[in-house]
Symmetry: none
Subunit: 543 residues, 2 copies
């Protein structure tokens, strides 16, 4: 039996950006697009060109994607305007997107209350908007907003909207449960009915998690005919989130009901990067990963010691419905923060370093990583720090320089601060550095907008013979997290700092990590790793 | 049509206690039992008497419950021992429980591999164990472990287990999806088949969230016949958690498919305590509530999109599938760039402040929020800071105290640091505060793990007459984000700090924001807002 193709549509960067507190930068979006493309997602909805500066810039040029289609979100044209006279639609049409997804009302109540136009006028805007996209030789999709509520109150009109979009040439007609209130058995029944009017091969499903059923609603829609699945990584999204692609994708690949009937762009190999993809998103959002997340959570395959644990050793399937390795996760028997051993050894392979677990040095490194993760380090995002750690254990990293001491002061005087419009706080740093092979230590001073900036400036102001290597390196992102796994209290807890550096000459970016009870110490550690990584990559000459 | 009764069985304190990191004390369990009883839960599974000291103590006397049945968990007797000779089963039988739930294997594979006995021996232990419970005049229940996997591999044996328990007198035969791997449509099909052999009125369902379908699986089981629903508040539980009762209960009461067919012990009145019940559990666990939780999350009825917000005001059902008040939650229109003016004015309304856009003071506040958002402030998460800002503009906030100046130093000396195992960095802060109505300013010193901790300690060490208000306030979360990712360098950019505070006495949590090029300044601003907000809420007396 030949399998049908399911198409995965990720809206993390568009509908997911509606999440309370989420605010993606241009660089965040570009980084996540690479992750989604690597995972094998078919459509990446990057944002809404014309709606804000970040999205307009993102869509000003087509990113280099391996297989994903770069998709823009927009609105159908306004009634009473021509396509060419609608600046919102024009911004989308003139973007560099491969595919364009336009939202349209599909409930007659919404058409009347929110748009204040007639049902037929609404169908006409859909016809013309889809036509305008098709004319530019791109794939058109229509998001049918409030589709399920619309269907329940006026089935004929909801179907007319879907059919109009399809007849006008839309590649995909997406059925949206906009307020998230529809239950699984209703989704199944309604989609089955819609599929009699628009072919399932052209139907998409877009659900929200307001009743905790977004994943089930999506699976039911697939069973009833939908072949495009919209959702967000980690279930990001407004209110309770969009359908969680991180939960849906493994079910499609690992559960026979779906795996025997369908193929997706995510191969079993790529599925093993899923846990990593989920963690990268958390890092970008500066959020602690959800330990209990299905498939990818740190506790998803964890068992407290006891009867379950011994049964697990005898027969893993007793408490593991799928093998944890299949999604890049791992079994955890004791309550611990173990890093993924298999992912670590494969990282070593990628660096061309010894990775045989029987090698005592590899074993020692794995143990050290475990100890450091217990302390709060995280190497999921800080690959440069991991590389330094690994090369120090398994190869050699020169000791380019050492820092003998530093002192940072931050001072504010109210009168001065008022006189200077609130900017009267002054930060200074003094750093004493010994360069390998030099006699006298270098003492440098930096003044900055804050203590870390002052420290960074002092450190970079004079690194002697290495100065040329770091001249064009800049700190482009700086993230701080307080880790409160212990119950000893917030500010007493450990601080993790992630620093992203950028070399303006080569365009290279790398991320380093520092952990300490002291934010300045943690920042300094990450700054030092950043410089050492750069010197290592440049093969800087010592002494 | 007369409605059927559904029975809610809460296992937060038993299966929920298997959650990684969860360890309930006796007092925790007693407090949560009162909350569950108030909510209208039918069965509260308190724990496993005999298995540990806490549970044995809990079951030594019957707590004073209004309507819930106090339920003990245990294991069926061992094969080859008599009931009276099995100390595990005796501990359960001799407890003060109203109802007893015993776990039994229902998969022939498990019987062979885990128990090493014959299928018939297993049925006999079930018969005798149920009989022993019934003999004590108490309700007997059997948790059929691995029921769905067992059914798939040997349907006849799984059915024989269920039927044996029922025939022996079990009030409830509970079908458990122990490893959480079964999908909704499978649950529906299998339960419908079981209900032909054991009456649905005697069937329970117990699911886990390993595929993100625990809630849907439960709903499907009810549709197919089960009348007892097992789950945990907030979806607590091993791995990815048990079925989330906090999501299931509102669906049963608010969605017509279920509300028209069934009644539960939770009345519409009691349903309004659901958000509170969920938060109490988080308090007991010392966990930050999940903002995105269906029905009860802080963001469950939040919207930040401008167009959504205006549609929401016109027709709430557009983005609200149920009224937020029905579960004791509330609508939030987030104060954000995308939210526009209507979200701001509705936030003012909620605070009982003037919100008429024609009012010049309201206009001035709206302008100020816009300017501040451009500077990097975000009031979406920092509602306490927004409230201070709004009350300062539209009402009055006393000037409790002012900070004349502060000075923070962070110093590391390599030798000392090495000697102290890397913890040799020392942070000090000196703060000068003038209290309204006092003559001499107060000078305080703090030493901390980092500069913000030192500053926090100095500030809180002596606030004169206000000291009593802040004594039990602690900083529980601290987040930092660098905002302008221009290529002029990260550390030169603006820093946004979010501080979450917690009052250990009242349990209240609030979040404040600070923005500055200097991380210390930004942190200080958020700390000051936190204290001022607390003084405002306490109506602290000035001067």
């Amino acid at each position: 039996m030949s399998k049908e193709r399911l198409y995965l549509f990720d809206t993390t960067l568009r509908d997911g950006a509606q999440t309370t507190g989420v605010d993606f930068s241009l660089e965040d979006k570009r980084r996540l697009m690479r992750v989604l493309d690597d995972l094998g997602i078919d459509y990446i909805e990057g944002g809404f060109p014309g709606a804000n500066a970040t999205d307009t810039e993102l869509f000003s040029s087509r990113p280099n994607l391996k297989s994903a289609r770069f998709t823009a979100f927009g609105m159908t044209k306004r009634s009473g305007r021509s396509v060419s006279n609608d600046p919102g639609l024009q911004a989308v049409l003139q973007s560099s997107a491969d595919s364009i997804c336009l939202v349209a009302k599909s409930s007659d109540y919404q058409v009347r209350v929110a748009l204040g136009i007639t049902n037929e006028e609404n169908l006409e805007t859909i016809r013309q908007s889809v036509g305008a996209v098709v004319e530019t030789q791109r794939e058109a999709m229509i998001d049918c907003e409030h589709f399920f509520d619309g269907y329940k109150s006026n089935r004929d009109y909801a179907l007319a909207v879907a059919k109009t979009a399809y007849d006008a040439g839309a590649r995909w007609v997406v059925l949206c449960d906009t307020n998230g209130g529809t239950l699984p058995h209703e989704i199944e029944r309604i989609v089955a009915d819609v599929a009699k009017h628009v072919p399932g091969a052209n139907l998409g499903i877009h659900t929200h998690n307001d009743t905790d059923n977004a994943v089930a609603n999506t699976l039911m829609a697939i069973r009833a005919g939908c072949r495009q699945i919209q959702g967000a990584l980690n279930g990001l999204g407004e209110r309770c989130g969009n359908a969680n692609l991180t939960s849906i994708i493994p079910t499609l690949l690992l559960k026979s009901e779906f795996a025997d009937a369908f193929t997706t762009g995510v191969t079993p190999d790529k599925l093993r990067t899923l846990t990593h993809a989920s963690r990268v998103l958390d890092e970008v959002l500066n959020e602690a990963p959800n330990r209990h997340a299905p498939y990818v959570g740190e506790s998803a395959f964890a068992t407290k010691a006891g009867i379950h644990a011994s049964a697990l050793m005898k027969a893993p399937e007793t408490y593991e419905h799928v093998p944890p390795e299949s999604v890049g996760n791992e079994r955890r028997i004791l309550v611990s923060k173990q890093g993924g051993r298999s992912s670590l050894t494969s990282a070593l392979e990628r660096l061309g370093l010894p990775s045989d677990k029987d090698d005592a040095r590899v074993q020692a490194l794995l143990d050290e990583v475990k100890v450091r993760e217990d302390q709060g380090y995280s190497y999921e995002a800080a690959e440069a720090s991991f590389e330094l750690l690994a090369r120090r254990a398994l190869a050699t990293v020169p000791r380019y320089f050492s820092v003998d001491n530093f002192r940072v002061t931050v001072e504010r005087r109210e009168e001065r601060s008022r006189a200077m419009n609130g900017n009267g706080t002054v930060s200074h740093a003094v750093v004493t550095v010994s360069i390998a092979g030099d006699d006298a230590p270098l003492v440098s001073v930096g003044e900055g907008n804050g203590p870390v900036n002052a420290l960074d400036k002092a450190l970079r102001s004079d690194l002697g013979r290495y100065q040329k290597h770091i001249e064009n390196v800049e700190l482009v992102d700086y993230k701080v997290r307080i880790l409160t796994q212990t119950h000893e209290g917030g500010t007493d807890a450990v601080t993790r700092v992630l620093v992203e550096s950028h070399d303006a000459t080569t365009g290279e970016r790398w991320t380093t990590v520092g952990v300490s009870p002291n934010i300045i110490d943690a920042s300094f550690e990450a700054l030092l790793d950043s410089i050492n990584y750069k010197l290592l990559k440049d093969e800087a000459q010592v002494g």
